[in-house]
Symmetry: C2
Subunit: 409 residues, 2 copies
């Protein structure tokens, strides 16, 4: 029952949001955008892979997909998966595109779309949801889908296989999550440009809907505004709520040190993207200074090598790797494996609105032994997905449709 890739189709899918939605300290009127790679086959199955950007530049990612993906044409999906790690590396190191990165930016985002399309097609061809396809792979087969190059000092392929084997006997203890689901957290209570009134309505709605955790955008030029809004959310959500704050990289290190000390009053669980995402050292200094408040980041970390540097420096205690922002599900898994080696939590950023990550959290928990604390939830594109993620009473419901839930209408 082979599924052979016949051709590549690329789609530039853009979704302007309603006023205020998605706004942060950088983006006033975000346009969510997916660079979509579709793998058409000799059967009715289509593999759909997403990469996430914001707005006008998305077409540049789209243009890079076809030339990099065409090496897959004519190949059988099971055969592709058996060497997906090597394929990822070959695409990432294409000698005529490599100088646009390497391993970051437009080309690496194109790789994300291509890699994710492979995983989607693989799960569909086996007739199972992505989480099941992942759980069914042997440690050796799983590791063959990963490019672990440049991670030799922390997680060589043999160590990755060993880790998967070590966690295997206790999988049964963690499988009940498939029935119970796991909590979502609500990112949409406190977008940057929402008025206090809107925030108030949203927090009440979130609590009523069963969310025990929610996020507020900070990073204002006026720190007093950040503090005031944080106090508001804490007051409305109550002492038991888990509250996260997100500065979207807008602080310098000295500013971050100062504002975070004030934010401590509301006992946030984490401060997200406090400063420049390339600045490992600044995050390390801040993480030490504001503990036990956690530093979370990852949506703008382009690849596993930068994540390795964050982990080695103990510069972030929540890794927000995103499969539509690094080189696809394969690189997401490489980072999740590495984080597990370091004993650091993974709470994905959801450029995909949680569609793919709802599967990956299940794999991380069951196969890698990660805690499944919660997963970000953003509802703004719900109506555009064929099988939107279901969050009921604040809990992600395990998806049962074959594939990675990535299809757009």
């Amino acid at each position: 029952m082979s599924t052979s890739i016949r051709s590549i189709r690329v789609r530039d899918a853009r979704f302007p949001l309603e006023a205020g939605h998605g706004s942060d300290a950088v983006h006033t009127n975000p346009i969510y955008a997916y660079a979509v790679c579709e793998l058409l086959t000799d059967s009715p199955l289509v593999g759909t892979g997403l990469a996430f950007t914001l707005g006008h530049g998305n077409h540049l990612v789209c243009q890079a997909i076809e030339p990099l993906a065409k090496r897959l044409v004519g190949r059988e999906i099971e055969e592709v998966m058996a060497e997906l790690g090597a394929i990822n590396r070959a695409i990432a190191d294409d000698e005529f595109y490599r100088w646009l990165g390497p391993h970051k930016g437009v080309v690496h985002l194109a790789l994300a779309a291509i890699n994710n399309a492979c995983w989607d097609l693989f799960a569909k061809s086996r007739g199972v949801p992505l989480w099941r396809a992942l759980l069914d792979l042997s440690p050796e087969a799983l590791v063959a889908t990963l490019d672990l190059s440049y991670l030799e000092d922390v997680v060589a392929p043999s160590q990755a296989i060993e880790l998967l084997r070590r966690e295997s006997p206790t999988r049964g203890q963690r499988e009940p999550i498939l029935g119970s689901g796991y909590p979502g957290y609500d990112t949409s209570v406190g977008w940057f440009n929402y008025s206090d009134d809107v925030i108030e309505t949203n927090v009440r709605r979130a609590v009523d809907a069963g969310f025990g955790a929610m996020k507020l955008k900070v990073g204002s030029k006026d720190p007093a505004r950040d503090i005031r809004r944080a106090m508001l959310v804490r007051r409305l959500a109550g002492d038991d709520a888990t509250i996260m704050t997100d500065a979207n990289q807008q602080w310098t290190l000295p500013q971050a040190m100062s504002v975070c000390k004030e934010l401590a009053a509301i006992k946030p669980y984490w401060v997200e993207e406090p400063t420049h995402p390339d600045d490992v050292q600044a995050h390390r200094v801040l993480a030490e200074a504001i503990a036990p408040i956690a530093v979370a980041m990852g949506e703008h970390v382009p690849n596993r090598v930068v994540f390795k540097n964050y982990l080695l420096a103990r510069a972030a205690s929540i890794i927000q790797v995103d499969a539509v922002r690094v080189g696809g599900v394969s690189e997401f898994l490489a980072v999740a494996l590495m984080a597990r080696q370091f004993g650091v939590d993974v709470v994905p950023h959801v450029g995909d609105m949680g569609q793919i990550h709802q599967h990956l959290v299940l794999f991380n928990h069951i196969a890698l032994g990660h805690r499944a604390s919660f997963l970000e939830y953003i509802p703004h594109l719900k109506s555009h997905f064929v099988t939107p993620a279901r969050v009921e009473a604040g809990v992600y419901v395990t998806p049962q449709v074959p594939g990675s839930s990535s299809e757009l209408k």
Copy 2:
């Protein structure tokens, strides 16, 4: 005598090289490519700015230039220069392109072309070569051309001004370099795919031409080949020659540790790009292990923030920042300033074939007090530039034509 920017013209300039030229451990048949931003004005002056990539992906950089540069149309160049730092930041943070980076990849390379075009036009409008235009700026005016954001912990604007003031009284001692020039080093003796015979011919020719320093490409899958060729170059060039080796990121950390120990036999001055350019920690470990051999890198470091992390970690002792690979001359200068604060040498990589950097080395030496040890020299595109850099008896001759020497025929 104002010069006003009328429109933006973009050019995708590609130069396939002859067999073997430019080859390294990654690239077999490199196509050198410039994404060119031209600022057309109300006078005959045209500002030309380059960004450097290799091959097919270059058109993606070209496409990003016009939408990001159009904010310059209608503006007077002196007025632009007075706030070039703020303009760089605004372009780098354009909310609809920022998710393609931030501050790396296609968008940041487009910024390089735009920023470099401003510097070229500025020098031309003043009728002087770029090095003179730079030296004529007051410390305050120079710092206004830089985006120093996210460097607050190591070089705030006030500290940058202070550094320039501190070096000012001793400029006269360093100005003789304008008459004497400074040495080039020959990168073209040992491209990766050259046979031993070609290397032998090249080394003899380089020595005869007056070069006291030269570079060999290593990073072979067969370390014995690297060692054999390194021995060959040392034997031919003699004990007094300065020899550098360049692995183009091809080693894992364990491989780098092992090969560098063997390479020590030929006493190389530096090992360049030993491993992944995002891996600060691996460079730090290697730098400590192989001292006094220097670790050099920078052609694939996208921005000042990553360079800051290299400097803070003491992970590289030669900073090879390249103005056509980071966000232009402005970001090059920010990195050069920061390196000076750390007492670390800058020896630029020359994606521009030394055209712009021949100016910048003079500024670094005279205004910042950097050593001017030498500058890379690659002759393969000589015939394509209007005023190609002149290296005579192994020495860069100070350019006298107005502008940044960036014009292509």
